[in-house]
Amino acid sequence: MKQLLILSGKGGTGKTTLAGAFIKLAQAKAYADVDVDAPNLHLILEQDVIPQIADYYGMDKAYIDMDICNLCGICEEHCRFNAISFVEDAFLVDYYACEGCGVCQAICPVDAAKMVPDIAGELKLFTNDAVFSTAQLKMGNGNSGMLVTEVKKTMQEAAISVPLAIIDGSPGIGCPVIASLSGVDMVLIVAEPSLSGVSDMKRIINTAEQFQAKIAVCINKYDTNVEKTDMIINMCKEINLPFVGRVPYDTEAVKAINNGQTIVDIDCIAGEAAKGIFAEVLNILNV
């Protein structure tokens, strides 16, 4: 299975819009949304089957049993995440601050600190003529990288002999992005023609270059800033990255998305541009 991952660095450049279009164009038999913080792909690719749902367990969370606690406070003292505090007459664990390291449990002299399993999110797998793996991380969780790995694994196991998988990634360059990069064959970066977009694109390229995948760049809403578009195209030339096309700003595309459709489901200029980009991507991927 060849895996195409769509990333951007900056948020809101159009990762999901293009991923949705590519999935339709390729009639992809396997795809995933690994933006586990803010998954959106399901909104434009309607599924007519009930998904298989599985709880995702993140790190265990600490809990102090006040029936056993002798109030020595050694747990609070050693918690590097400031997750334990003495409130009124009890030691309480801040659920969002606890990183599940287990130091409190290890040092509690009376075994009052316990580590308990915690559901950190939900994995969803839709299976009909294609396999669609997605997930939602619970708010405020820090286990996004592990969940991303699970979403990809779930997709791979459900679609073993599929030639091409398309993966919609998350913004940024941190934990979930690094987890999503592992093992993919190609990364398509969707850039935005603005100074912010250029700065973020450089950081995501540097991140992606640490992996083995091929990298290509496209631009969305290119006509909102033609000079910055040219700047990005020139930058790609300088660093020898294939530039695979540009999509214009198109109010019809916004309407398609808000109707729960992809931009290739309707007749629009953004959709036409997406077709050209996808053809280039397939060339590079050699599918």
Binding site: G11, T16, D60, V103, G140, I178, S196, N206, T224, I257
Partner: protein
């Protein structure tokens, strides 16, 4: 009228406003830099440490740079007797004992200190490892802090904590430009805020993520309101969502190619256009009066 300052008991110079979004690219930085510009002697804290962009608009002359370190363990192999207590303890699997050598995977370490604490032979001690920097500078009358995570690093939470400590001692309205999403990094910024602005865009993607951001600010019991950005004349699902759920809309900013172009080129729109200066001044006032 009771103002939010009365409720939260802070003076006019110390209010902290977090700007978040759920979805990326809705205009957090755009709203943040403009608010920081119209507020007098304000502090702007860029906590979008994976992709910090505020400095593109709030241009700085000289910057002070400070490294942000985390603690990681180092082994003294002469002292290590191979008991593996540390390996068994580490829930992140950041240690392994292979061929009579203790191996430490720095990237995975969460700096909890447990291994060093538990080693019966005192074979482990901690050293600093840099994960990023904080830059501080002045742009006109705005004090700017920028958190920058090193490429390849997993988590920037320690950088955000450090910035939050700095702005805690600062004087002036503080605008916190948050990372996208609703993960641990965002919690760190929201926890410290007196008021939250959620920036949403008019699409079903925007609504889905707006919903999540609202859940987050409600969880921390923060007063909040929504700024709708890039509004089109067509039906706006984000606006409809706010109306249905009685959520305060603080401002509506239309999609405007000219504005978009200026913003993309690194201009601060409230310095270029009196209309937008008024819009952001009004927005700041309305928050200070209680949203």
């Amino acid at each position: 009228m009771i103002s939010i300052r009365d409720i939260i008991g802070v003076g006019i110079r110390e209010m902290k406003v977090a700007v978040l979004s759920g979805k990326g690219g809705t205009g957090k930085t755009f709203v943040s830099v403009n608010l920081a510009t119209v507020a007098e002697n304000s502090i702007y804290a860029d906590c979008d440490i994976e992709e910090p962009n505020g400095h593109i608009f709030l241009k700085l002359g000289e910057v002070e740079r400070e490294k942000v370190n985390v603690k990681i363990p180092v082994v003294d192999n002469d002292k290590c007797n191979g008991c593996r207590i540390c390996v068994d303890f580490c829930r992140y699997n950041a240690l392994a004992y292979i061929n009579k050598n203790l191996i430490i995977f720095d990237d995975i370490c969460h700096s909890c200190g447990g291994c060093t604490l538990l080693c019966p032979e005192d074979a482990l001690h901690e050293v600093d490892r840099g994960i990023g920097v904080i830059e501080k500078g002045i742009s006109d009358d705005v004090t700017v802090y920028t958190g920058i995570l090193n490429v390849g690093e997993i988590s920037g939470v320690p950088i955000i904590e450090n910035i939050m400590d700095k702005v805690d001692n600062g004087q002036g309205t503080t605008i916190i430009d948050c990372p996208p999403g609703t993960a641990c990094t965002v919690i760190e910024t929201v926890k410290n805020a007196d008021y939250c602005i959620i920036v949403a865009e008019p699409s079903i993607f925007g609504v889905h993520n707006l919903n999540m951001a609202i859940d987050l600010v409600k969880l921390f019991d923060k007063p909040f309101g929504v700024v709708l950005n890039k509004c089109l004349p067509d039906f706006d699902p984000a606006e409809a969502y706010c109306q249905e759920n009685s959520i305060k809309i603080l401002a509506k900013i239309p999609f405007d190619r000219e504005l978009g172009k200026l913003n993309a080129d690194g201009y601060i729109i409230s310095k270029e256009s009196p209309k937008y200066q008024e819009l952001f001044t009004h927005l700041l006032d309305s928050i200070e009066k209680g949203g």
